[in-house]
């Protein structure tokens, strides 16, 4: 600490100190005040005498007290800490003490002050830059991007199938009308066979009784075969005809029962 004590013998310094006291509200905390005080040393912050700074600060706090100026708690906390720092810096290091040395603490304070000063300089530089809306300008008449909203419709295969299923299911509730085009009913077959049976003296293939137009189309043939078979069973039951089949899947034959 080369500078040693700082005294207020100089009238100007004393006046500056007084002014500081009056302006205490203008400071943003103890660090701000310390930075201001350090300026009076008029040296590079890296070479600052922290001891001298501590002295300045402590005497500032002392004066504030004598002038009965209320100091915020953090100013007093800083004063206590600086008093501690001062004692560390002045007394020879105690080997049994494990805490940081006075020099380390002083170096950190110097660092904090330097950092704060640097940030202030940069802040000033930043605000001195060309600013938008003051030095340079944006397009005054922006042509807003018009948003074209396009709707994209989607449907999944499932939607499609469900839709179709819905329609098809709905069909079932429609009054049911038998599509008779391809159906030959039992009644029709019975009617028809009753008329023809008289001519069946010999065993005749049942299928030869199928009406014209019902032999070739598979659906029609199936329907007519079934109804004619059922009708023939009916006729067997009434004793009008006899029926036989020689083997499985062999042709079914019928013959009229000779009337006694």
């Amino acid at each position: 600490m080369p500078d040693g004590d700082m005294d207020f013998s100089d009238v100007g310094d004393r006046l500056a100190a007084e002014a500081l006291i009056v302006d205490v509200d203008g400071f943003e905390g103890p660090l701000d005040l310390l930075l201001m005080l350090s300026r009076t040393q008029k040296v590079d912050l890296r070479k600052i005498s922290v001891l001298a700074l501590a002295e300045q600060y402590l005497s500032f706090v002392q004066r504030a007290k004598t002038l009965r100026i209320e100091l915020a708690a953090d100013y007093l906390v800083m004063a206590a800490w600086l008093a501690f720092l001062k004692s560390r810096l002045l007394l020879p290091p105690d080997p049994s003490d494990e805490g940081p040395s006075g020099e380390e603490l002083a170096a950190h304070l110097a660092f904090q002050l330097e950092r704060l000063a640097a940030m202030r300089d940069r802040a000033a530089q930043l605000m001195a830059r060309d600013q938008k809306g003051r030095d340079f300008f944006v397009r005054g008449l922006p042509e807003d991007v018009t948003r074209v909203r396009r709707v994209r419709y989607t449907a999944t295969l499932l939607d499609l199938m469900q839709g179709y299923a819905r329609i098809r299911t709905k069909d079932e509730f429609r009054p049911y009308v038998m599509d008779r085009d391809n159906v030959f009913t039992l009644e029709q077959a019975l009617e028809r066979m009753r008329g023809l049976i008289g001519y069946a003296g010999e065993w005749t293939d049942l299928l030869s009784y199928l009406p014209e137009g019902w032999e070739s189309d598979p659906q029609r043939r199936r329907s007519a075969t079934a109804s004619h078979f059922a009708a023939s069973l009916e006729l067997v039951k009434t004793g009008a005809i006899r029926i036989r089949q020689s083997d499985t899947f062999a042709p079914i034959q019928i013959r009229a029962v000779a009337r006694a």
């Binding site: 008449l141 994209r152 419709y153 295969l157 199938m161 079932e172």
Partner: protein, 222 residues
């Protein structure tokens, strides 16, 4: 670029004397900046009051207009005033498309399904199957989506137009052909058809025949 700040401008006072106009190029820069930043078109008189003494706004704006000819931005006259606008042929760049995805309406889905399963199919046939009339909007929407198109006319009285599904439709639904559409049997197996379909339903049989039947069904009816 702090070097080109207001200080830089102050560095050239000799050229900016009160009675000497800035060089033409400088006047052009100034008018360019003003036209860019101004909120509304600005008249020559207004330009002159904003420019340093001795500037000729009318001539400068003309030069600027020439300079921007064929560029993406042009200097245009709006009434008696001047403004800069983007070139009209680039208007399409000023649009931002937002695509909104929406589900197809139930009517559209059903109509589409009927066309897919029964194509080629007339509007009357669609209405018969759906049991309700088909709105023009629904068909138009499907045509617009390019999921259906007109098929050949039906050889029946009135020669009604038919609808068929498109390649676009197949692509969208991941089908190779309309025949890949699951039949009613499969729909039922998938639980989509809870109830037994009515007897004699054309789609009852196996798939290959179904398509055939479908076509036949309508041709018969016609």
């Amino acid at each position: 670029m702090p070097e080109t700040g207001p200080e830089a401008a102050d560095d050239r006072p000799p050229r900016e004397s009160l009675f000497e106009a800035p060089p033409e190029a400088e006047q052009e820069r100034m008018v360019e900046a003003i036209l860019f930043a101004t909120v509304e078109p600005i008249g020559v008189a207004d330009l002159n009051t904003r420019l340093p003494h001795g500037c000729d706004a009318a001539a400068t704006v003309e030069r600027l207009r020439k300079r921007y000819e064929g560029r993406g931005v042009s200097v245009v006259k709006v009434g008696d005033a001047w403004a800069m606008r983007t070139a009209p042929d680039l208007g399409f760049l000023m649009q931002k498309e937002t695509v909104e995805t929406r589900k197809l309406s139930r009517a559209a889905v059903e109509t589409l399904a009927i066309i897919a399963y029964h194509q080629p199919v007339t509007r009357a046939e669609i209405e018969e199957i759906r049991g309700v009339s088909v709105s023009r909007g629904t068909v138009d929407q499907l045509l617009e989506l390019e999921w259906i198109r007109f098929g050949r006319r039906k050889m029946t009285p009135g020669r009604p137009v038919t609808y068929v599904v498109t390649q676009e439709f197949l692509d969208h639904f991941g089908l190779e052909s309309a025949r890949d559409l699951p039949g009613l049997k499969e729909l039922r197996a998938a639980g989509l058809l809870e109830n037994r379909p009515p007897p004699g339903d054309a789609l009852q049989g196996d798939d290959g025949e179904d398509d055939q039947d479908q076509t036949d069904m309508f041709e018969d009816e016609a």
